[in-house]
Symmetry: C2
Subunit: 324 residues, 2 copies
């Protein structure tokens, strides 16, 4: 398998330029693409980036999808029908297609020009530099380093070398408070998840995967800045919130929400990237790394809830069990 | 005030090209920009379009924002601080700025190169062609007609001429079933709103503004295609859903969700764009018009709920009442 740097070199040898990048996936895999899409929006001068749920990409096929497009597709099972459909459209339009799958030998592995098998990383001592989110971040940083003189590729690589330390430290740090939170939320009917910046994908993922899917828990994902334009009106002392507090420029949006919750709420849990030690990664790039830390930290939280409820995270009633 | 066609002509006389468009607003105003952003993604070959909540735009200032950018800003009050901050950034970068406000003489009116006062349209007999969503749609269609030979500007104009008929017919049609729905949902604790395609902005808006803000009602907005990648696991016979069923290519995503709800849910309301008569607008452009129809139709629904609950839609506990 080529590494991301080699892949970009190979792609740019075959194409004059890459004019846009499409990140396409569903559910939890879509979450992996949120930080690299955010990276492109913030850092790229000329290359537009777009994030699509698989079926939406096919239904509303972008007019700008063509030979100078790079399409990244991710499916954990390697079999998601919407992702395969999206790959078909991308190939038909002549785009360069990179596919990610959790396991080898799947239809998704065969569906692109390049493919990445990223493995599972559920066992202890896993390395997180090879997770889809960081592989994609590195791909984008390598692309911009060549095409737009992006100056911080070395800082991205340094961040990748530090991410395991960040993650394992952070997971350790939250183990006790995750138990307290689980206890407090055991019988909660509804949960609001807040956050912003590159971490908003995690806000979405924790709500739809960890809570709705894995705990059959009513939940909503709210952008910290949008909270003040409607959603805050439901806030009271009885409503439960989790806020993912970022450590970069987005932090001010989360802080504002936390100030409000301190005053008008009572049941809120703040998960603070700064306090959890993400800032050993350079400030120019740290924002793109905290989402993965948040993800692993929130896995500790959801595990505690699952234990207390006797509702294992793997329990499903529909997914993979009935036709839909 | 210039009309959108004159505005585009004037802009293109001052700039070689428009390379990207940024739609920036907060809450309900952000919803207005979802369909034109969707239009650009689907129809434009060269001009990238990006949708930002006001503060996020400032915190993660896009590297591609510059002299060849067009920035559209909307604030109903004309005073939203985040929108004014965003205008400052856009001007600083040399972008062309068009601002929308509901009333004249506000700071937002002064913050751009062009400004539009779109009025209120709450009284009977209002004309909807001048709502921000359709003014923006027309601006984008005019832009692409000049720069990319977009072939359906006449169909967009025809749609604008028909939208009042579509809206008033649709509002009439739902008046009875909105009463039934209000009765059924009067004591509902949680409500899931589903939809996809250009109407997803309305899904968001109905959840965060109509339900959370105006009814203090717990709610979540779910993309119909993403529903199957997590959120559907909370579905049971006791959980309430509203599905906005689009009538274009996105319809298949909504239909799939409805099929599932028919089997595993019990409390769901389908609001069907086709049944409500949106298809008197040409099929090449109708998708960009149904969001406004959905908005007005869902105003009928929320009104019934508000009446039954004796909780007027204008009741607030925080917004505009406390400091935040």
């Amino acid at each position: 398998m080529m590494n991301p740097g080699e892949m970009i070199k190979d792609i740019l040898a075959k194409r004059d330029s890459i004019q846009n990048v499409f990140f396409v996936a569903c559910g939890g895999s879509l979450v992996e693409f949120y930080p690299p899409k955010y990276f492109m929006d913030a850092e790229s001068k000329h290359c537009g980036a777009f994030l699509y749920s698989g079926k939406e990409f096919v239904c509303a096929a972008p007019a700008s999808l063509g030979e100078n497009s790079l399409v990244l597709l991710c499916s954990h099972s390697g079999k998601t029908p919407e992702v395969l459909e999206a790959a078909g459209l991308a190939k038909e339009r002549g785009a360069v297609v990179i596919t990610y799958a959790g396991v080898a030998g799947t239809p998704v592995n065969q569906a692109g020009d390049y493919h990445i098998v990223y493995g599972d990383r559920t066992e202890e001592g896993s390395h997180y530099g090879d997770s889809p989110v960081l592989l994609s971040l590195r791909l984008m940083a390598e692309l911009l380093a060549v095409t737009e003189d992006y100056p911080y590729l070395d800082k991205v690589m340094d961040g990748i070398s530090k991410i395991d330390t960040v993650i394992y430290n952070a997971m350790d740090q939250v183990s006790e408070r995750a138990k307290i939170w689980g206890k407090a939320c055991e019988r909660e009917n509804m949960m609001y998840i807040l956050g912003s910046g590159p971490a908003f994908g995690n806000v979405y993922g924790f709500a739809i995967c960890s809570m709705m899917e894995m705990q059959w828990q009513h939940a909503a994902y709210i952008h910290s800045a949008e909270y003040f334009h409607g959603p805050f009106e439901v806030t009271d002392k009885n409503t439960a919130y989790v806020v993912l507090e970022s450590n970069g420029p987005a932090r001010c949006m989360d802080e504002r929400a936390i100030r409000f919750l301190k005053r008008y709420g009572a049941k809120y849990e703040v998960v603070d990237a700064k306090e959890l030690g993400a800032d050993i990664i350079d400030e120019k790039v740290v924002d793109y790394f905290t989402p993965l830390m948040f993800y692993k930290v929130m896995c500790v939280y959801r595990e505690e809830l699952a234990k207390l409820r006797n509702h294992p995270l793997s329990t499903r009633r529909y997914m993979g069990k009935v036709a839909y």
